[in-house]
């Protein structure tokens, strides 16, 4: 439930703090600097708390599945149990190197994550096989560039045909940088315009609608 003041006050806060933090970048006055440093110090532990809220949401969802005996609730029990076990191990024995917590990270969490990402090698290869067709000039350029960089980076081809490796590093260093730079400039300008609209309350969708 959102009241009228509760709807407007956040936009005032957003304007005040948003402008303050933009100004502190350009005005190195000690008063402004100490204020913004203090706010950042206050903000740091809150960032951890926000992560906790997200984790609570995840665990509540799985607990509800177990409680209602929904389909595949057994897997939710696995999630809840493993989360609780990892948290207890970390809280009781600490998170430093050589602890059970670090061992669980190395032998349980890391292998599963690495294997899941490595699975993408198969799916990317099959997707590329289906999608890469030299139908247009752009698609042909993409295909050729991908092959040159891929084979140029493999040590075997580097030994077999050295110019391929040089061409691959040229592509990565120059045309690739040009494309990335243009995309970076474009997306940054777009993100900045959204940020300005949000700070000045022109775009209000970020905090929901008035009720």
């Amino acid at each position: 439930m959102v009241t009228k003041i509760g709807y407007r006050l956040p936009f005032v806060l957003m304007l005040v703090f948003g402008v303050l933090f933009v100004v502190q970048y350009f005005v190195p006055h000690p008063a402004i600097k100490s204020t913004t440093d203090g706010i950042q110090q206050i903000k740091q532990p809150v960032s951890a708390f926000i992560i906790f809220i997200g984790l609570v949401g995840l665990l509540v969802m799985h607990a509800r599945r177990v409680k209602n005996r929904e389909r595949r609730w057994g897997y939710s029990l696995v999630t809840l149990t493993s989360a609780a076990a990892m948290a207890v191990v970390g809280m009781v024995w600490g998170v430093d190197q050589g602890t059970v917590y670090a061992d669980w990270f190395t032998y349980l969490l890391s292998p599963i994550e690495a294997t899941m990402f490595s699975l993408l090698a198969f799916f990317v290869a099959s997707a590329a096989f289906r999608a890469f067709r030299a139908r247009t000039a752009g698609a042909t350029i993409l295909l050729v560039s991908a092959f040159i960089v891929m084979f140029g980076m493999i040590p075997f081809f580097e030994e077999l045909f050295p110019p391929l490796s040089k061409l691959a590093s040229f592509i990565v260093s120059y045309p690739n940088t040009a494309a990335k730079r243009a995309i970076l400039i474009g997306t940054s300008l777009g993100a900045m315009s959204v940020a300005i609209k949000t700070i000045f309350g022109i775009d209000r969708t970020i905090l929901g609608r008035e009720q």
Binding site: I42, P45, A83, A84, S118, A137, L142, A146, I148, I185
Partner: protein, 211 residues
């Protein structure tokens, strides 16, 4: 063949095989590993944030000197409570205020740093042409300059892509395709390296087939 004697290696190997079983089709072993990794990651995240941020930067300072030099950290506690109001329907106003404060500080920090690092520095890096040294460097810098301008033209929609603008946009789209090709190959190679790492783990650490 020299099988591993460390139980942790066995667990890691079995979990790796559970994830690889997805290559056949979705199955209970993969689902188990999938939910296990979610739970472990949740517990890991909780402990890491608790031990590295929440405890040393909020709980401990407040416990030691909560009414003295660290009194300002009580504001963090209040903001944490306001965030927790997300789950209380009648206190949505408080949650929105905390959210607005958070967004404002982040956007205020984001605006000037993005303008500086992602726009002005990138433009400076593009226009400050270094036409000295090896011919490949000179050619590369020219490609970088022309490619960036052309790619930016491709994203410029306030003028119809005809004539000179159209030609520049076409060159820009080709440059972007070269960039996408290079990025795609990097993604494929990184996944293949991960796959090699997992297979190497199974064959060396678990089965002891290779040195």
């Amino acid at each position: 063949m020299n099988l591993a004697s460390d139980p942790y290696v066995w667990v890691a190997a079995i979990l790796t095989l559970c994830v690889f079983s997805f290559l056949y089709k979705d199955n209970p072993f993969f689902c188990f590993a999938e939910h296990l990794v979610v739970g472990l990651a949740a517990g890991y995240t909780f402990c890491t944030y608790w031990q590295t941020i929440f405890l040393p930067e909020l709980i401990t300072p407040l416990w030691q000197d909560g009414m003295g030099s660290h009194a300002h950290l009580w504001i963090s506690v209040v903001i944490c409570f306001m965030w927790a109001c997300k789950y209380i329907d009648r206190a949505q106003d408080l949650f929105r205020c905390a959210l607005a404060f958070w967004i404002a500080v982040d956007l205020g920090l984001f605006l000037p740093t993005t303008m500086s690092a992602r726009v002005l520095e990138q433009i400076a890096g593009t226009v400050n042409l270094r036409l000295q040294g090896d011919w490949t460097v000179i050619l590369g810098n020219l490609v970088l300059f022309v490619g960036t301008i052309a790619s930016l033209t491709y994203f410029y929609f306030s003028k119809a892509h005809k004539g000179v603008v159209g030609a520049a946009a076409r060159v820009g789209s080709w440059t972007i395709m070269v960039g996408f090709g290079a990025t795609f190959s990097y993604v494929v190679l990184s996944r293949i390296y991960l796959l090699i790492g997992r297979v190497h783990f199974l064959m060396r650490d678990w089965l002891g087939i290779v040195e």
